[in-house]
């Protein structure tokens, strides 16, 4: 599940929730240049692909990697 408001799917028990950007554009940011927007979308999709391959015990949020440091955060709520 990709969501700009992960709190809601986590509360209703979605196992893997990827944090998106904003309500009106979950998987990108039209405020960025085309290249940066695409790169952001890429990171979100990668987080989703990793999420689906990660075993979880319950509702888990996956946060896409930052631009600066290529780190992947995951937190259990």
């Amino acid at each position: 599940m990709m969501s700009a408001l992960p709190m809601i799917p986590l509360a209703v028990g979605a196992n893997r929730v990827v944090r998106g950007v904003r309500v009106e554009h979950v998987c990108g940011d039209p405020g960025l240049s085309t290249e940066l927007d695409r790169a952001l979308s890429h990171r979100i999709i990668e987080a989703a692909i990793r999420a689906i391959q990660t075993p979880v015990d319950g509702p888990t949020e996956f946060i896409p990697a930052d631009t600066a440091a290529d780190k992947e955060a995951a937190s259990v709520s």
Binding site: P6, M7, V21, R22, E24
Partner: protein
């Protein structure tokens, strides 16, 4: 901080040679009122009519419902800040109001393309057209009980949504002001004093209504949508006195329910008994990132704590993500030790399959429900339809589909339990 509210009840309305209030009857000089509307040359066609409680009458096309109020003592103007009105602080002195009465602003979109109409972002495409019944089995919404003067205006050509709103709402306010002026110099039959000076030794309580902003659709400088002293933008929380709300400091879209708000009135009436009514924290919603919503919630809770609140009543105005923002405020308040009560309508029941609330975290320990708003059975046929400039479409005289729940049903919205929908539920 004291406000006297003088109430002049309206039991009947009729046309006459002079606009005046006398002994519960509001007399309307039709030409004078139409003249006020047509004062703006951009308005080419308009009509006025009455809608009386108990009559087989349906009001359609309504955009806002306004209770006429006038300041007779103290600074500022009622309904401040909107459509070019004074932004001076209100909430003190004396205000006179026409009670059990409202001017209904109806915009007749006949002949207007959907593209132009829905650009206004005031109605979701596909949602039922807004209407309310004055009599019969379904006269249950917040606007059923009042005597109404309905103003129907055709939207001026070649104006964007915000300018169109300004033109139409200005005309409505000219009429509301004129009617309120009829009682400005009179002694009110009822006078209620709200002195909100804190009493020593009592805990503080705040009202935190969450009111959506449509900035994300209209931009931050738009005249459209609910406003705080004219500001409709998605802003940090505003701290207002309860008496400022009673003067209409928060208005538009839900003007009657905001300026005659049952929560504000009850908290103001109980001020000084078991708690001090410290104020209202107006929390704007529709922040579009979860992090922004969390930030805004923390700011509201911090403000509540700083002004000494030990308890809060939070309400929400639309469901979905606005409800999430309300719950975030509730959580933030509870974390700071502020006992917080949620007053809310419930989700659409969806045939009994939907949960009453999309989120109910452990901090949510005290909830007052105003029901789902669902009213079974069709709206019955009616004899009279008002709210159009010309002849209403025939379909409006016939049965209308039942209210399934309030979400998306603008004609059934009743955030604070002002209407009687819930009584049909239980």
């Amino acid at each position: 901080m004291s406000l006297e509210v003088g109430s002049f009840p309206v039991e009947d309305i009729k046309f006459g040679p002079e606009t005046k209030w006398h002994d519960g009857v509001l007399e309307i000089d039709r030409d004078e009122i139409l003249g006020l509307i047509f004062q703006d040359e951009l308005i080419k066609s308009a009509e006025i009519d009455f809608a009386l409680p108990g009559d087989s009458t349906r009001v359609i096309n309504y955009m806002d419902v306004i209770e006429p109020k006038v300041k007779v003592r103290g600074s500022g103007q009622t309904y401040p800040g909107i459509v070019g009105r004074s932004t001076e602080k209100t909430g003190e002195g004396r205000t006179h109001r026409l009670q059990n009465f409202a001017v209904v602003e109806c915009v007749d979109y006949a002949g207007v393309s959907d593209e132009m109409r829905y650009a206004s972002a005031t109605k979701q495409t596909g949602a039922p057209d807004p209407f309310f019944d004055k009599g019969g089995s379904h006269a249950v919404t917040a606007f059923a009980p009042q005597v109404n003067l309905c103003i129907a205006i055709s939207p001026p050509d070649d104006l964007g949504p915000a300018d169109r709103h300004t033109v139409i709402h200005s005309a409505t306010m000219r009429v509301a002001d004129r009617l309120a002026a009829t009682v400005a110099a009179m002694e009110p039959p009822e006078l209620e004093t709200f002195d909100l000076t804190p009493r020593e030794g009592l805990p503080g309580a705040v009202f935190i209504p969450h009111l959506s902003s449509i900035e994300w659709q209209t931009g931050s400088r738009s005249s459209m949508g609910m406003s705080v002293y004219g500001q409709t933008r998605l802003s940090a929380p505003w701290l207002l006195e309860g008496t400022e709300l009673l003067d209409g400091a928060v208005s538009q879209r839900h003007s009657l329910q905001l300026a005659d708000n049952p929560v504000v009135l009850e908290m103001a009436r109980r001020h000084g008994t078991t708690f001090n009514f410290i104020g209202c924290i107006i929390q704007r919603t529709n922040w579009t990132m979860q992090a922004e919503k969390e930030m805004a919630a923390d700011r509201a809770a911090h403000l509540a704590q700083k002004v000494g609140a030990k308890a809060a009543i939070v309400t929400t105005d639309i469901r979905g993500q606005r409800y999430l923002e309300t719950i975030l405020t509730l959580q933030a308040c509870e974390r700071l030790g502020i006992a917080t009560i949620l007053l809310s309508e419930e989700e659409d029941p969806e045939g009994g399959t939907a949960p009453p609330f999309i989120l109910s975290p452990p901090e949510m320990v005290s909830v007052v429900s105003t029901g789902t708003g669902a009213v079974p059975g069709n709206f019955p046929p009616v004899d009279k339809v008002v709210g159009t400039v010309g002849k209403p479409e025939e379909r409006w005289y016939g049965e209308q589909p039942p209210i399934i729940g309030r979400y998306g049903a603008y004609h059934a919205q009743d955030i604070w339990g002002y209407g009687n929908q819930s009584l049909a539920d239980y």
